[in-house]
């Protein structure tokens, strides 16, 4: 049962990822990407990382993708022809990518991963995560907020500069 | 404590000087600092205990996990070279007193920084520290030559800088290699590094030998790595030339004695002759080239190159006399070359030229100067009872013990040395007075303050070299112990 869910989600993710590359309209790319993210959210659920799954949906599908979409709409890029590289470049790129995959697979195959400790704790639950996050990772968490702030300021500054 | 104060004193004064302005004040402060340094060095000299392997040791852990410590100390060779540095620097500073410099305070600050670095090189007991000081010494001289030099200074100084830097990188590589071979926990102490050498394979030893020799050969310089030298000596300000030729060049030979001679047995007997041959080639080659030089500083540069060749050859002869001679010659060459560059400086200041063909008849105008020049020259051509003779005699004796033929070839330099030095003297000092030297005034009292002590040094070291020679003996024994 779980297997089927796993493979189904994986297949969906890979398919939509490929479609991101294949389709030529940016709006389609975006939609396929969202689909892919949904599949990944499913994986999180499957891992019992409920909090992550929710955050993932909110942040990626909700925030980031909307941002993309917004940019897309604002610049009205959808009507543009897809800019494609020369065939040669694409082949080279594809081959290098495959090479990377092959090496990765070989290496990761060779990894000996020790068997985990038996555990049944609900680490993916919001409560548990929250405890860890606000105790152990308090300082990085606050730092992250500063990062956000600066990113926000930066983004505004940049776009504003020309006006 | 004594050793560290020898380094810290000039360093601190140097830092202070960077924030100062004005020629007079900075001159005097610099001079006082070097005199204080000399006083400390003299204390070290009088309190030196020959029976100890390392005098005045100082050990501060720096990176203990890496076996790297701030470890200083002196044996006889170190002490003599520290003395040389301490004695010469006041003269070098004093020799600039009549000269208007731009940014005088920075100039003296750099000279003092140089002094600190040189003392550091000579007293380091730790390989990495040695390297740090070695490179530190390069920085001030780079600025001294680059900022206060003559025509084409930037290009020539840069070449000198990169060239020596490349050499020292080889040394660093060799040091690190040795370090990784020390038994765990790894140690950077020079003693530890040297003890490793015999345990290495012949191929490794050969590579290390080559790396060290290359680094020192460029510094000294040894044929055929010398081509930075004539240009640099010519273009550098007089004080820079004095520092370079008088003291800095000794770093190379000191390195040879410290790091290369302890390669025992086969490596040394296989590759040592290569160095000797190179040194001899340089010796004859430099001497012959010097004969036809038209520019005083360039001539002195080639003569210095030739002398260094003899020192390097003698160092590899590996006999007690040769080593004593090499060490002694380091000192006397330092004194003589500073005197000669001072002569060149005076001529340049008075006549605005150092072209030999434009000079002549100076002896008539300036007899005291003529005497000073004459004695400096005699020291340089190794006339008995001058300091040059003691060193050359011991070196040649040592070379003769190594091989009579080598001594004979090396001896030719005695003849050639006389040829070019007397030729130089004759053309500048004798003959009809040329227009450039017509208004040549004799030595001023400040200049006498430099000239007279130098003369005294040249003569006294030649007449009574015994104390200096004896101080170096235990260190030589130590070196020879590594070899046999």
């Amino acid at each position: 049962m779980e297997k089927y869910i796993f493979f189904g989600l994986s297949g969906l993710a890979i398919f939509s990822a490929i479609m991101v590359l294949v389709s030529n309209k940016p709006i389609h790319n975006l939609l396929y990407l969202i689909l892919c993210f949904m599949a990944i959210a499913g994986h999180y659920l499957l891992l019992n990382a409920q909090f992550l799954a929710v955050v993932h949906i909110i942040v990626y599908a909700g925030a980031i993708m909307v941002l993309f979409l917004f940019t897309l709409m604002m610049l009205n890029l959808n009507l543009k022809l897809e800019l494609n590289k020369s065939l040669m470049a694409r082949i080279v790129a594809f081959v290098s990518g495959l090479l990377l995959l092959v090496t990765l697979v070989i290496i990761l195959n060779g990894l000996v991963i020790p068997t985990p400790k038996t555990a049944t704790t609900q680490i993916g639950m919001t409560r548990d995560l929250g405890q860890v996050l606000f105790s152990e990772y308090m300082v990085p968490f606050e730092a992250a907020s500063i990062l956000f702030l600066s990113a926000m300021v930066g983004a505004v500054m940049m776009v504003n500069k020309n006006k | 404590m004594l050793t560290i104060s020898l380094i810290l004193l000039p360093l601190i004064v140097s830092v202070l000087l960077f924030f100062m302005k004005g020629q007079k004040a900075s001159q005097q402060i610099a001079l006082l600092a070097t005199l204080a340094e000399l006083a400390i060095a003299l204390i070290a000299f009088t309190g030196f205990d020959k029976s100890l392997a390392v005098n005045y040791p100082l050990l501060i852990d720096w990176l203990p996990k890496m076996g790297f410590s701030f470890s200083l100390g002196m044996d006889g060779i170190s002490l003599l070279l520290v003395m040389l540095t301490a004695v010469l620097t006041p003269f070098i500073i004093l020799s600039t007193f009549n000269r208007e410099n731009k940014l005088p305070a920075s100039f003296y600050a750099l000279v003092l920084m140089m002094q600190a670095a040189l003392v550091g090189v000579f007293t380091s007991q730790d390989g990495l520290l040695f390297y740090v000081f070695w490179e530190l010494a390069l920085i001030p001289i780079y600025f001294i030559c680059g900022l206060w030099g003559g025509e084409n200074k930037v290009q020539i100084t840069l070449k000198f800088f990169i060239y020596t830097m490349v050499g020292s990188l080889f040394m660093l590589a060799a040091l690190i290699w040795l370090y990784t071979k020390t038994p765990a926990p790894h140690q950077f102490g020079i003693k530890n590094l040297l003890l490793v050498i015999p345990t290495l394979s012949p191929v490794e030893q050969a590579w290390l030998f080559a790396a060290f020799v290359l680094a020192f050969a460029i510094k000294m310089p040894l044929f055929p790595f010398h081509s930075w030298q004539p240009d640099t000596y010519t273009v550098a300000p007089p004080a820079g030339s004095m520092l370079l030729a008088g003291i800095m060049l000794k770093m190379g030979i000191y390195g040879l004695l410290r790091f290369v001679l302890p390669f025992r047995g086969n490596t040394l007997s296989t590759y040592g002759p290569v160095v000797i041959v190179l040194a001899l080639i340089g010796l004859i080659y430099g001497s012959i080239i010097a004969i036809k030089q038209q520019e005083i500083k360039r001539l002195i540069a080639y003569s210095s190159f030739a002398h260094v060749g003899l020192m390097a050859a003698a160092a590899f002869a590996l006999t007690r006399d040769a080593l004593a001679g090499t060490i002694f010659q380091m000192l006397s060459h330092g004194v003589n070359i500073v005197a000669l560059f001072f002569v060149a400086d005076i001529i340049q200041r008075r006549t605005n030229t150092t072209q030999i063909s434009e000079l002549g008849g100076i002896a008539k105008q300036a007899p005291r100067f003529a005497v000073f020049f004459m004695i400096a020259m005699l020291g340089s051509v190794a006339l008995p009872l001058t300091n040059g003779f003691i060193g050359e005699f011991l070196m040649l004796v040592g070379l003769a013990q190594y091989s009579m033929a080598v001594a004979a070839v090396a001896g030719i330099s005695i003849i050639l040395g006389a040829v070019y030095m007397f030729w130089l003297y004759q053309r500048t000092m004798y003959g009809e007075t040329k227009p450039a030297s017509e208004s040549f005034t004799d030595l001023t009292s400040t200049e006498m303050l430099v000239a007279v002590p130098l003369i005294i040094l040249i003569v006294v070291m030649g007449v009574y070299p015994k104390p200096l020679l004896e101080i170096a003996q235990p260190a030589i024994t130590e070196i020879l112990k590594y070899i046999h």
């Binding site: - | 003779f389 003769a400 015994k466």
Partner: protein, 630 residues
């Protein structure tokens, strides 16, 4: 005695220091007193030391301080006065003192008066160190020291670059010899672990006669003597050295410094007698030099040059003597030669002084009446050098030739020939200078005057010594006691063949041949230059054959110039070019290559992000693969 010994060289040195340091301030009178006085005191001390030795005293050894501690030996700054050095001391300080006095007059008007005397005192000091040193290194100090003084004094009038060149030539040729000396010294040092004379000579017993080591070492030492004593092939500096003031020529280039080579060989006789090959070579070089220099002298027209070549020739005789094992003979000739050659030079100086600097004998003549004292003493000197009995040169030269005769008849015959030539050119010089009519300018004629007493008195004293100097060693055949032989025997001991195995008849016959030959050539000279009144041809005259070669001194200077000087200068330029255009170029090319590579590498940075990315990915792959392989 020890204090005395130390004071002998020290006094002139102190005088040198005082005059040298204050040469601008002290008056000439003080300089004269100081310079001459110290040498005189040294002379007196030398006499005391001599008398002590003469009365059976033993050699005095003084070590002033440890000079050079080396691995094998502690070379001390030490002096020794034994019979041999005592004899040299007398010559150096005695003749030196006379020449100092003479110089007061000769240099009186020179602006470098004080400088001159300081150099002269330094020379005396160096020479005394040379003869008194008790080891080879001490000797070498003096050896180089006198070379330096010789340089300074030859180039005394340094405005003239020709003089300076002569001075430099002298120093460098000496240095060539010195290198040989040094190498010889090294061999001894390595073998005997010492440079001390006594230590070395006492160990010579372990060597067979003709031992290769000894032969090479002695030959190398002899190279030093060749340079210092102006023998073939390093003799050309000595005639050029006449550029110096005449007292210098007398003191350094006739009486003392140039004899250092003879002294050195005599001092090392213990080694030399073990090396017959070396002795033979010494003989050959000596006779060759004697003949070559004598032939050149025949055609020289410069009064000092003639004397210079004659000095070279006489030094050749001394070496023949050494080669034949006549160490005493050589020392004897050295002594008498110091007397008469110093005399001749000083007299020549007096002539030059009288003529206001003229040195060309073609412009002299008829001076006999004008400067009678000079003429008389010059005559004494000339007779002495020509070997006419009972003047000093006869005895000393005869002793040498007698030994040579026993050893090698051919060399003896050549020696007689040379001595005949000596008689000829010396009398040629005498006749051309003092006989006939005056050939100089009217101006000079008016100024002709005898030198002041301060110059003539030393001349007279030297003349007397030249006449009677031979009596210190009258051979047995004249009923003499060979006192010099006896005096020196503690040094040379049994090693020297003091009494050649020839009958008195043969000995007298040999003497007769020499004397008759000399007289014949004197007569020939008389006929040619006084009777026929022949004057040597002028500078531009075309000369032919042998005369031309001799006049141009066998073209030796030109040959050296072509074979040594030119190639070295050429090599110097060539190597300098190589240095700049090859060695430095290679270094610079390293820089250029780096710059070039940088320029090429820059092209990789296209700015094409796609390319960067691909490169990045591929690099990651490469790293991973590399990691895998390890």
């Amino acid at each position: 005695m020890k204090t005395l010994t130390a004071l002998v060289p020290l006094l002139p040195f102190i005088s040198f220091l005082v005059i040298g340091l204050f040469f601008k301030r002290i008056p000439k009178l003080l300089t004269s007193v100081l310079a001459c006085g110290t040498v005189l005191i040294s002379f007196i001390f030398s006499i005391i030391l001599f008398v002590d030795l003469k009365n059976g005293g033993t050699a005095t050894n003084v070590t002033l301080f440890d000079w050079l501690p080396s691995a094998n030996a502690n070379i001390g700054f030490s002096l020794v006065v034994d019979q041999l050095s005592s004899l040299m001391l007398l010559v150096v300080t005695g003749v030196g003192f006379l020449i100092h006095v003479y110089s007061i007059g000769y240099m009186h008007d020179d602006e470098g008066f004080n400088r001159f005397f300081s150099y002269l005192n330094l020379f005396v000091f160096s020479m005394l160190i040379l003869v008194m040193g008790s080891n080879y290194l001490m000797m070498f100090i003096g050896w180089e020291g006198v070379g330096l003084c010789s340089y300074l004094l030859i180039g005394f009038w340094f405005k003239n670059q020709d003089y300076n060149n002569a001075a430099k030539k002298a120093f460098i040729m000496n240095r060539i010899g010195d290198l040989g000396f040094l190498l010889g010294m090294f061999m001894l040092y390595i073998q005997f672990k010492s440079l001390d004379f006594n230590t070395i000579f006492s160990q010579t017993g372990q060597f067979q006669t003709g031992d290769t080591f000894i032969t090479i070492a002695t030959l190398l030492l002899f190279v030093g003597a060749i340079g210092k004593s102006a023998q073939i092939p390093l003799f050309t500096w000595l005639p050029d050295a006449m550029a110096g003031p005449t007292p210098v020529s007398a003191l350094i280039h006739a009486a003392t410094m140039v004899t250092a080579g003879i002294y050195m060989v005599a001092r090392s006789h213990a080694l030399y007698i073990l090396a017959p090959t070396t002795l033979l070579i010494i003989s050959l070089i000596g006779i060759a030099t004697a003949i070559v220099a004598a032939t050149i002298a025949i055609y020289q027209n410069d009064i000092k040059k003639v004397l210079a070549y004659s000095t070279v020739s006489q030094l050749g005789y001394m070496f023949i003597g050494l080669g034949a094992g006549a160490f005493t003979g050589a020392m004897f000739h050295l002594t008498t030669h110091a007397f008469f050659k110093a005399l001749l030079f000083l007299a020549a100086g007096s002539v030059i002084h009288a003529l206001g600097g003229e040195q060309d004998i073609r412009k002299m003549g008829g001076l006999k009446k004008k400067i009678p004292i000079t003429w008389l003493v010059f005559l004494m000197g000339t007779i002495a050098i020509s070997g006419i009995p009972p003047f000093s040169g006869f005895f000393s030269k005869d002793e040498i030739l007698l030994h040579v005769y026993v050893q090698n008849k051919i060399i003896w015959a050549l020696g007689i020939l040379g001595s005949m030539m000596t008689a000829f050119y010396m009398f040629r010089l005498l006749f051309l200078t003092f006989f006939g009519s005056f050939r100089g300018t009217e101006d000079q004629k008016h100024h002709l005057h005898e030198s002041p007493a301060v110059m003539t008195v030393p001349l007279i004293i030297l003349a007397i010594l030249s006449v009677i100097g031979g009596f210190i060693n009258i051979p047995a055949v004249f009923g003499g006691a060979s006192s010099l032989n006896n005096f020196l025997s503690p040094v040379f001991g049994t090693t020297q063949t003091s009494a050649p195995e020839v009958s008195h008849g043969t000995e007298l016959g040999l003497m007769a041949i020499a004397v008759v030959g000399a007289l014949a050539l004197i007569a020939f000279a008389w006929a040619r230059f006084v009777k026929a009144n022949r004057i040597p041809a002028g500078e531009e005259t075309q000369r032919y054959g042998l005369e031309n070669i001799l006049y141009h001194k066998y073209y030796i200077d030109e040959i050296y110039n072509l074979l040594i000087e030119k190639p070295i200068l050429f090599l110097s330029s060539l190597l300098h070019k190589i240095d700049v255009f090859v060695i430095d170029r290679i270094v610079n090319e390293f820089g250029s290559v780096t710059v070039w590579l940088g320029a090429r590498a820059r092209l990789v940075q296209t700015g094409n992000i796609g390319f960067y990315l691909v490169a990045m990915v591929l690099s990651i792959v490469a790293f991973l693969v590399f990691g895998l392989m390890i």
